[in-house]
């Protein structure tokens, strides 16, 4: 893959070209100044490029060819669950009944949409063991913030003003960032040498000032928290809430439910577990599920059913309010709903089983060549370390990740979680063939070999991509964030 360099669209502009034709006004044309004072009018139009329709199409099509995607190949980006995104879901989301529906349309015109949301809530409750779900959060981090706000409201309702949120040292960066946005101080709890939360340390950091413990399970090492029941006891013992970062729910579908593990609240990443496409960084959807104890604080509106009628309920006196306009990333919900209905309960369990099977299989193939800091059965993903290659050959994890691009793969997540030196975090997902896993393992083996025999080849990778390593230092020292005419 080495598609040609694509000029900026601004560089293609030729005065007079158009790509969209609008009609002349079919209403009487009065002087603009009669409608709007001259002071309010724009003097100079925005410098949008002037190009024809075929040029627009070729420009963005060529850009797309300079992109890697799940539709092209294996994308083992740990913690991101880059599974296949079914095409029928795309067609469904684009049905005019969904895509052309106005959010303030009268409720009687939105019954299909509301029913879909209501049913999806039931489905997510059954999958998670939670009692209610809000669809408003647009992403996982948005869900975290929403959940922490509900926790804070519930505690204030009890007359408590707690000040701290505990997160493990292996947590996603969004966890502490969300806690801070909710006005909480962040306390970090260590992991033990099996990759679990260090229970002794958790006991030390917990006190009556802790509002919540935010835990990812399986955690970001891809390991199930073996002491989940003990954690639940400790956290609830201090009257704090137990929060699940649901990023890794894929491994749990139909196997175990967060609600049964003692979690009070969680977010789902529909764009991970439930197959909605990542879109180059979004949109996703981060619905939050709660046990009844937190349900009064859900954002408004919730979707309710009365007989065969569905409606939006704004009458929730204890609500935290709204965290975005309207009701959520609805078109993403359509895709997730389609996915769950396509698979059914049985299919969802197969998703979890196969995701875990694929991860353990790949781990088994790679174990001889890389360090494995936590040598256990993994769940949906696992974390290797490139410290051996770094120490012995001066080849870093970043180098090996870049070399993988030459082999035609997206790189795994690297340097995360922070507790693993030279971390390589691999999540194959359930939608890959055994052949793909074998080929990827072979590429990794060869890279490990190259690190020993020809380290410079790896250090200077990638060699076959549209561009080579980019100067990030220059980009950050002298930010060039927009094109300007020369």
């Amino acid at each position: 893959m080495n598609p040609r360099e694509v000029p900026l669209i601004f560089e293609e502009s030729v005065p007079g070209r158009v790509a969209t034709r609008f009609p002349d006004p079919d209403v009487p044309v009065v002087p603009l100044e009669e409608i709007i004072p001259k002071d309010y009018l724009r003097e100079r139009p925005p410098e949008f490029p002037e190009v024809s329709e075929p040029e627009v199409v070729r420009h963005f099509t060529w850009l797309s060819r300079r992109n890697y995607a799940v539709d092209l190949g294996f994308y083992p980006l740990g913690s991101c669950t880059m599974k296949y995104n079914p095409k029928i879901n795309e067609d469904a989301a684009r049905l005019p009944g969904f895509s052309r529906l106005h959010p303030y349309a009268p409720e009687e015109l939105a019954q299909g949409a509301l029913r879909l949301m209501w049913e999806l809530e039931q489905l997510l409750c059954e999958i998670s063991g939670m009692d209610r779900v809000t669809f408003q959060p647009a992403a996982g981090a948005h869900g975290e913030l929403t959940a922490l706000m509900m926790i804070r409201a519930a505690l204030e309702d009890r007359g408590e003003r707690r000040t701290k949120v505990v997160v493990p040292d292996s947590a996603h960066g969004t966890n502490p960032a969300s806690a801070a946005m909710c006005g909480y101080q962040v306390v970090v709890v260590r992991s033990d040498d099996r990759g679990n939360v260090d229970i002794q340390h958790l006991r030390q950091v917990m006190d009556e000032q802790v509002a919540a413990f935010m835990l990812t399970n399986p955690n970001t090492l891809g390991l199930f928290e073996e002491h989940i029941l003990e954690i639940e006891e400790i956290v609830h013992g201090y009257g704090a809430f137990l929060y699940l970062d649901g990023a890794n729910l894929n491994a749990m579908l139909g196997i175990t439910r967060p609600g049964d593990q003692g979690f009070d609240v969680m977010h789902f990443n529909l764009h991970k577990t439930f197959s909605t496409p990542h879109g180059g960084g979004g949109p996703g959807a981060g619905p939050v599920g709660v046990k009844n104890v937190l349900a009064p604080y859900l954002p408004v509106p919730t979707v309710e059913r009365e007989g065969e009628r569905f409606y939006l309920n704004y009458n929730r006196p204890k609500t935290i309010g709204k965290i975005r306009a309207f009701y959520g990333n609805f078109a993403v919900l359509v895709r997730a709903y389609a996915y769950i209905r396509a698979l059914g309960g049985e299919g969802l369990r197969q998703v979890a089983e196969t995701a875990v099977l694929n991860a353990n299989y790949l781990l088994t193939l790679l174990r001889p060549y890389f360090d494995l800091p936590y040598n256990r059965l993994c769940k949906h993903e696992f974390v290797l370390s490139g410290r051996r290659q770094k120490k012995e050959y001066g080849v870093t994890t970043r180098d090996m990740a870049k070399r993988l691009l030459d082999y035609g793969y997206h790189a795994p997540t690297i340097y995360f979680p922070l507790i693993v030196e030279e971390a390589i975090m691999i999540e194959p997902t359930e939608t890959e063939t055994r052949k793909t896993l074998d080929a990827f393992a072979e590429a990794m083996r060869r890279i490990a070999e190259e690190a020993a025999t020809n380290p410079e080849l790896v250090r200077s990778a990638p060699h076959t991509t549209p561009v080579k390593r980019l100067d990030e230092v220059q980009a950050a020292r002298n930010p060039n964030l927009r094109w300007r005419p020369t």
């Binding site: 959010p103 647009a138 980019l470």
Partner: protein, 450 residues
């Protein structure tokens, strides 16, 4: 049962288990305490074939009264605009759709360049220096803008016009509640922010004055005066946007000194989608770039001097700065930003002016016709873009009910958000409405109100 999205066969499964060295799938879950295992199948209906699934989804979609079946005069933060065919043909390409955040820049130059172009286009539209790669939606973007203003000024009070979209104001309240910030609402005069009151409320404690232009009633605020007022007190001017297309004809916020612009980019090529996903836009001045939340794409060169693009200034973000990050945002609305970029390119320099003018003229025409109907009047004298408020002789909810059987989705009854405007009807007329549709609408209003 084979699942269409899972390739592994039973034979392969057995072989893979053998390689792993366990005798069953069950063994792979041995670390999960039995007490928390689900000991029954999920209570979800059996899997659907593709044909059954399609019938189900189409059935649900068909229950909805969408803007191809009804003639829509409803706006209020979500706008029915014409979307050129190229926009989603291109944005839906699998190479864009099924990619992750462009962390591996060498194989993601397409996405990165597209976002760089989006940032440029948005800066041009708003006359700002820097735009980020997107936020969730207009409301949350505006809320984050108030937090950014707090960080920049180290002041805690935010003045927010009551003519900012009511849902945006609710979101600002929710976002700032636990950050020691104080939100003070500025009242209205003739459908726009009362700047005399704003003048009295401004002080050395105020971080920002927040207006929406055009505002929730479609009225055009006096951005220049607001800007001068805010800056005189060392406060920032934050401009909220509900309808970016207006900037094709209106003076853009950068030209009257806006410090942060944040709002909704849905009208830029994104569908109504029953409220989402939309596109949170955020832009600021060059000197504030290190305080902007969200991702930024920057231009640079590779080791061989070739032009390229990377995610940059990432130390602002949660994955590096964690609790000290400018925001917790990670996943954003990149695909919607891509669609917006394609839309802006497809419109071009001429199209953006033309579409803005069409909106303005058609709404103006509808406005002049409606106010001629007996009992109807315009609520405000202030100039408007493509929305305006009409005072009605009967409850607007009732009007909407009577119009619906004629295939018309009427405007937003304002009583829900503004009790003093219980007879207020917020109408929207975009370029997608023809003169015939407007005339028919006016005639029907006359008829059903009589």
């Amino acid at each position: 049962m084979p699942v269409q999205y899972i390739p592994v066969t039973e034979e392969e499964r057995q072989e893979m288990l053998r390689v792993i060295g366990v005798d069953s799938i069950e063994a792979l879950f041995a670390d999960i305490p039995p007490a928390v295992r689900l000991k029954r199948p999920l209570n979800i209906e059996p899997p659907l074939s593709d044909l059954e699934l399609w019938a189900l989804l189409r059935g649900l979609a068909d229950q909805n009264g969408h803007c191809d079946r009804y003639t829509c005069f409803l706006g209020a933060g979500a706008y029915d605009h014409y979307v050129p065919s190229v926009v989603w043909h291109l944005a839906s390409r699998g190479e864009f759709l099924t990619a992750y955040t462009p962390y591996q820049a060498e194989i993601m130059q397409g996405e990165l360049q597209a976002i760089y172009e989006y940032q440029t286009l948005l800066c041009e539209l708003l006359a700002m220096d820097v735009a980020n790669a997107s936020m969730y939606d207009g409301a949350s973007a505006l809320a984050e803008a108030t937090v950014m203003a707090r960080d920049l000024t180290r002041r805690n009070r935010i003045l927010v016009s009551r003519a900012v979209h009511p849902e945006y104001r609710q979101v600002i309240q929710t976002y700032t509640r636990h950050l020691g910030m104080e939100i003070v609402e500025v009242p209205l005069q003739e459908g726009v922010t009362d700047l005399d009151v704003a003048r009295d409320l401004l002080s050395e404690q105020v971080a920002a004055l927040v207006l929406q232009i055009p505002n929730f009633f479609g009225c055009i605020e006096d951005g220049q005066t607001a800007s001068d007022l805010a800056h005189r007190h060392g406060a920032l001017l934050v401009v909220g946007i509900g309808e970016p297309l207006a900037m094709g004809i209106l003076r853009p916020p950068g030209e009257y000194g806006a410090d942060i612009v944040a709002g909704e980019g849905q009208p830029l090529g994104n569908h109504l989608n029953f409220g989402g996903p939309y596109l949170g836009m955020m832009a600021t001045r060059q000197e504030y770039v290190r305080r902007i939340p969200g991702r930024l794409v920057g231009a640079t060169v590779d080791v061989e001097g070739r032009k390229g693009f990377v995610l940059t200034l990432q130390t602002r973000e949660q994955h590096i700065r964690r609790e000290k990050a400018t925001s917790n945002i990670c996943t954003n609305e990149s695909l919607n930003a891509l669609a917006a970029a394609i839309y802006m390119v497809a419109l071009g320099k001429q199209g953006i002016q033309k579409v803005a003018e069409l909106n303005l003229r058609k709404a103006h025409y509808a406005k002049t016709r409606i106010r001629e109907i007996q009992g109807f009047s315009l609520a405000f004298r202030t100039p408007t873009f493509h929305e305006f408020v009409v005072r009605c002789p009967l409850p607007p909810e009732e009007l909407n009910r009577r119009l619906l059987p004629h295939g018309i989705i009427g405007g937003l009854p304002l009583g829900r958000f503004y009790p003093e405007l219980a007879d207020g009807w917020l109408l929207c007329v975009t370029e997608a409405r023809s003169r015939d549709e407007i005339d028919r609408f006016v005639d029907l209003v006359k008829e059903v109100a009589a």
